[in-house]
């Protein structure tokens, strides 16, 4: 089984490539449109529904610098599909080149189980967990800006920083009172 490998290709000049994985294929469209508007860097966006991605595109595909899993907290299938896709990534990605982006956290306040499960997942993999709002253009723009910041570091375009250094600052941590009863 061919895993997606972060270091088996040469990087492009002033280029960054991001892979957005989302089961519903909705938010990734609007995010992609905003991401490519970046002028300082050439951003390539690849979209997928799940991993693994078909191998026939392997030659033409540039090196993927950041993999973002977009999870809709109101749908169980979204979480399951993201978890199942994780095993198709080479472990090299988990050194700061994977990010979880979660939408509809406000609606999912009723079933906190799913949010906790995603948090546990992000903590165990040492990845950042971002919350996004996908219904308004401002929400899309701000999520895209945050992704771009991480992307620029992950593709080596920011001097004196690497993805691994950044991940120490951005990785998700479990809140200290998770074992105590919450106030509902």
């Amino acid at each position: 089984m061919s895993l997606l490998n972060p270091f088996n290709k040469r990087p492009g000049l002033n280029t960054a490539t991001i892979l957005l994985v989302e089961n519903e294929e909705q938010f990734q469209q609007s995010l992609a449109n905003v991401l490519v508007e970046e002028t300082a860097v050439t951003v390539n966006v690849r979209l997928a529904k799940t991993l693994p991605i078909p191998t026939k595109n392997d030659e033409s595909r540039p090196r993927i610098d950041l993999v973002v899993f977009i999870i809709n907290l109101t749908l169980d299938k979204s979480v399951k599909s993201a978890k199942a896709s994780l095993k198709y990534l080479d472990p090299g990605y988990f050194l700061g080149k994977v990010c979880f982006m979660v939408t509809n956290a406000r609606q999912a306040l009723g079933c906190t189980g799913r949010l906790d499960a995603v948090r546990q997942l992000a903590v165990s993999l040492h990845c950042p967990l971002l919350f996004a709002e996908d219904q308004t253009p401002e929400g899309v723009t701000s999520s895209a800006r945050r992704l771009l910041t991480i992307l620029k570091v992950a593709s080596g375009l920011v001097p004196n920083t690497t993805a691994l250094y950044l991940s120490n600052l951005t990785r998700c941590a479990m809140p200290p009172d998770i074992d105590q009863p919450s106030f509902d």
Partner: protein, 350 residues
């Protein structure tokens, strides 16, 4: 004006929204322009009723004329009440050359033979549909205009749509229809819904179809996949574009493209055995588990097509779902295929 005419008029004015009431009265053409202006439509419904009653008394209108008004309203707004479909079978030789006048005479005479005291009104609509309004009475009572049955039939097609039919009148109506359209039998077509336009379009297949082709387009253009997946920017690329285009194509082949008739529910009556590997006690029972599954949505075909194209329902689309548009039904009874215990196939039956 007698009592029943007054009551019918009162009922009608209550039922029809004021704006439509004005248009319907114009189409009715039984009141003069001056009388129509006399009725003040900005008042409350009660006042409008009183004014209309007075105006109709002047013109000496009877219950037959009010029934005409009701018919005009229903023809203009057919998407109310519950419509059921019947299909005529075994056409005789002259069924295809049946014309309107002959059908009208035959239907009226057959129905009055079967039941005395029925009031029948037949009208041909501009789109080739024949509308029939039937008020049932019997040997001891006048026809009851408050609970009329409406029948819509397209001549030379085997389909009949009925609304407001009581079960005691059903065999009479069906027999009259069969004889007057020169067929030998009639059966239930298992399609019912609130919107007449939707079930008619579904049955007569008046929506955009997609025919399966092996080579969808001769030139491989970059943007030929579905519109929502068009990426004008060359930097954006979908890794699994082919898979999603396939899903869209198969969903379109099963359900059609573009606007779909707004069918609102589908009912599956299951008489299959319970099958679940984790639950031994239930699986051991011999008798089938009776269960009814109902899907409802403002537009169920649109929802099912969306499920198939986004991958929620697996493609190729299962015949359980694709037979809704294919066979034009929305009520299915599903039983197990009997032969061997190992082959567990379901099949739909009438």
């Amino acid at each position: 004006m007698d009592d029943s005419a007054k009551r019918l008029l009162q009922r009608l004015v209550r039922r029809i929204p004021t704006q439509m009431l004005r248009d319907t009265l114009d189409k009715w053409e039984r009141l003069t322009a001056k009388q129509r202006e006399f009725v003040d439509f900005t008042q409350s419904k009660w006042t409008i009723t009183q004014e209309l009653l007075a105006v109709c008394e002047e013109r000496e209108l009877s219950v037959k004329h009010i029934a005409e008004l009701e018919m005009i309203y229903v023809i203009g707004n057919p998407n109310q009440g519950m419509w059921h479909t019947f299909q005529l079978v075994d056409a005789e030789d002259d069924a295809h050359s049946l014309e309107l006048v002959q059908f009208k005479e035959q239907f009226k005479s057959h129905l009055s033979e079967l039941k005395r005291n029925v009031a029948v009104k037949i009208k041909k609509h501009t789109d080739e549909a024949v509308w029939i309004r039937i008020a049932w009475g019997d040997t001891f009572s006048r026809p009851n205009h408050l609970k009329a049955t409406y029948v819509v039939h397209y001549l030379q097609t085997p389909f009949v749509f009925v609304s407001g039919l009581l079960s005691k009148h059903k065999p009479l109506l069906l027999q009259a229809l069969t004889l007057s359209t020169r067929h030998q039998g009639i059966k239930d077509a298992n399609l019912s819904g609130q919107k007449l336009t939707a079930i008619r379009d579904l049955l007569m297949r008046q929506y955009q179809h997609v025919f399966p082709t092996k080579y969808p387009s001769p030139l491989a253009e970059r943007n030929r996949s579905v519109s929502s997946f068009v990426h004008l920017d060359p930097h954006i690329e979908n890794e699994q574009a082919e898979a999603s285009a396939n899903r869209h194509r198969m969903a379109g082949e099963a359900f059609g493209n573009g606007m779909l008739p707004a069918l609102q529910s589908a009912v599956y009556k299951l008489e299959t055995k319970f099958r679940d590997l984790t639950n031994e006690t239930m699986t051991e029972r011999d008798k089938p588990l009776r269960c009814v599954v109902k899907f409802s949505s403002p537009n169920i075909l649109e929802s099912l097509r969306h499920c198939a194209s986004t991958g929620i329902a697996s493609t190729p689309v299962t015949p359980l779902l694709s037979s809704i548009p294919l066979k034009g039904r929305n009520y299915f009874v599903i039983t197990d295929n009997a032969p061997s215990a190992s082959s567990q196939m379901c099949q739909t039956q009438d």
